[in-house]
Subunit: 269 residues, 3 copies
């Protein structure tokens, strides 16, 4: 019984890179189902892909997660395999896997993939996705290799973390940031509804939203349909975080928001 | 024996949305083969996706069709599951499924997906593709749920139709419209070859094509190779409809055509 | 036991074409795993797709390779199926398959797909991917058809070759060309490291690179990490060919290189 393998990368679709990794998986784990989490993430943007993986991991079948967004390829960063209660995570040691691993309860063990026998020899420069990560993922999925056989243990402290912005609550104000703008211009913040509740704001009320020096008052509703066309709303999005949207429009444009911009929320003043 | 699931959406490839739906299907229907019909359809364009589904449905393996193009998400439109001789169709009640369902002979039964036990609880706003449509598709594919268990019956008259343009024949003239321009600039009309035959035009003859106030005379040929490079041709395309093309060029530019523009065809005057 | 099918095209992702071919494969070869090599290759660019297939073929599971990049569709070019030690190749007779077939040792037999019983009848113009190539690939994958049943033998000399540029060594200079620029701006040449060794240049040395009338001196290193940020390097890439790259930058811009541009390499003068 071969585990499913969920595969994320920033390889895009204009060449054969994604296909070649699929080929390696099909050769080494012919019984494993492979799920593409996505390959169109912004190139080299580890944080954006890490957040996507964190949002998605609970919906993916337990097994092996293979993730490759790797601006440091060709340098000395390690190749990791982590064991968790969800299954195995395989990818570069650059923070990509860290939040998703934390999301499923943390790693019980982490190794550095170093055994050349578990890799595909390259005719030149190593293509890590094809030669290192895909074989490791396939061998773990089929059970043909254990972590011991892939490389030596490393401690969690040695692993590159993903430094995600924290929120702060002070004087009735929750300060966070826009940490994802989706293709529709909806802005997800890093603020949880519980934090807003902590400063006395409840669903159905109006929220004071501060972006730069501009203050907006926006209703906290359940759904897009609760406001009129073109109106701005605040809601708990499908990931469970406070998000700002414009029905039939783009909240990023409307509120001058982009990934990384600070946002503060409070009750009506 | 789990049925195959064919999946269409406008989610695009820049985030994890398609992957998360695949994850839900893999978890709930681990034995079902999933075929991606496509996820790059123009966002929120229900008609374009509905036509693509209609063109493709006869080539997809019988089983379950999961289609999500849903500009009305967050409003009160229903979630549908329809039973047909081809299999089940699952998607929003906005006309997306209607022409493909009609193409395979119509629905023998339609229900509104309302049973919360057949849905995945969301931490916030419902992501219908992930929380409602994918679980329903998977449960129908595995046979773990019947339509009865998903929700109450609704009548066909309650379902949102897709209003597709009709053709009209009058005074030896067939009037229709350009209803799809493919990536090469080929223009598919909604006119069938039988309609052109009905006004006395046969393959091999020259056709009078009127777009706006401009009249073109174009040969009705079998294949691109029947005209010279750069020349315009009229032919029955691979879907069985009259289409206008330019060999090695773009018919949309050449004839000033776009989706929805009126086109009239007649024999040579 | 149905063979895996690896599928390459230039169909893109904005319509249902890739999905329809997948549908035909799923109907006719329900047990075959299908691997997408990629569908975002530049439209109608046979050479680029042929090179990608050649780079990727050794990493794909043996079975059937279905490749469709077909600017001559609708003309009289043949549909081919070739038997090799790797498995079967199916696609248009325009050079697309030739280098990959050569890479796996050449064809032991080639036939022209002509048997209408092995095709899907089209309601109009033939969509070769859907109606001719996909059924042939599926029938070969399942073993339901032999080459004999698909069409008559043709000799290798009748098949359209892919004319790839050759390198030339003269007076201590290896002349070749840039034959692929990847999405990062890395430039793969058609020069093998053995050719550079043949003129006395070894890894670790500095290479004289001539592009047009400009001469660059570039270190031949093992990996990106061997040079500083923003510096140019020459290395053996993951395919085994000499490539020029800029760490953290674009070599195509830096050296004014594009696909097809001549490049000459020599030792330090």
């Amino acid at each position: 019984m071969s585990s499913p393998i969920s595969f994320l990368s920033d390889f895009g679709t204009s060449d054969e890179f994604v296909g070649v990794v699929h080929g390696v998986l099909a050769k080494l784990a012919p019984e494993s189902r492979v799920i593409d989490i996505g390959h169109g993430f912004p190139r080299g943007n580890v944080k954006t892909a890490a957040l996507a993986l964190t949002r998605g991991i609970q919906y993916l079948p337990e097994g092996v997660c293979l993730a490759v967004v790797d601006p440091g390829v060709g340098t000395s960063r390690r190749a990791l395999a982590a064991e968790t209660s969800w299954g195995f995570f395989v990818g570069p040691d650059n923070g990509l896997l860290s939040p998703a691993v934390a999301m499923v309860g943390g790693a019980t063990r982490i190794i550095s993939i170093e055994n050349p026998e578990a890799m595909i020899p390259s005719p030149g420069e190593t293509f890590h996705g094809r030669d290192v990560f895909a074989p490791a993922a396939a061998l773990l999925a089929t059970g043909e290799a254990t972590l011991d056989e892939l490389g030596p243990d490393i401690s969690g402290e040695e692993v590159t973390p993903m430094l995600l912005p924290l929120t702060e609550t002070k004087d009735g104000l929750v300060s966070g940031e826009a940490w994802w703008v989706d293709v529709f211009g909806n802005v997800q913040t890093n603020i949880a509804p519980e934090e807003l509740a902590g400063v006395g704001v409840a669903p159905g009320q109006t929220v004071t939203v501060k972006v730069g020096s501009t203050i907006h008052t926006i209703p906290w509703v359940t759904s897009y349909g609760d406001v009129g066309e073109g109106e701005t709303l605040l809601h708990v999005d499908s990931v469970g975080l406070i998000a700002i949207a414009v029905r039939g429009g783009r909240a990023d444009d409307e509120l001058n928001l982009a990934e990384g911009v600070s946002v503060s929320l409070a009750g009506r003043r």
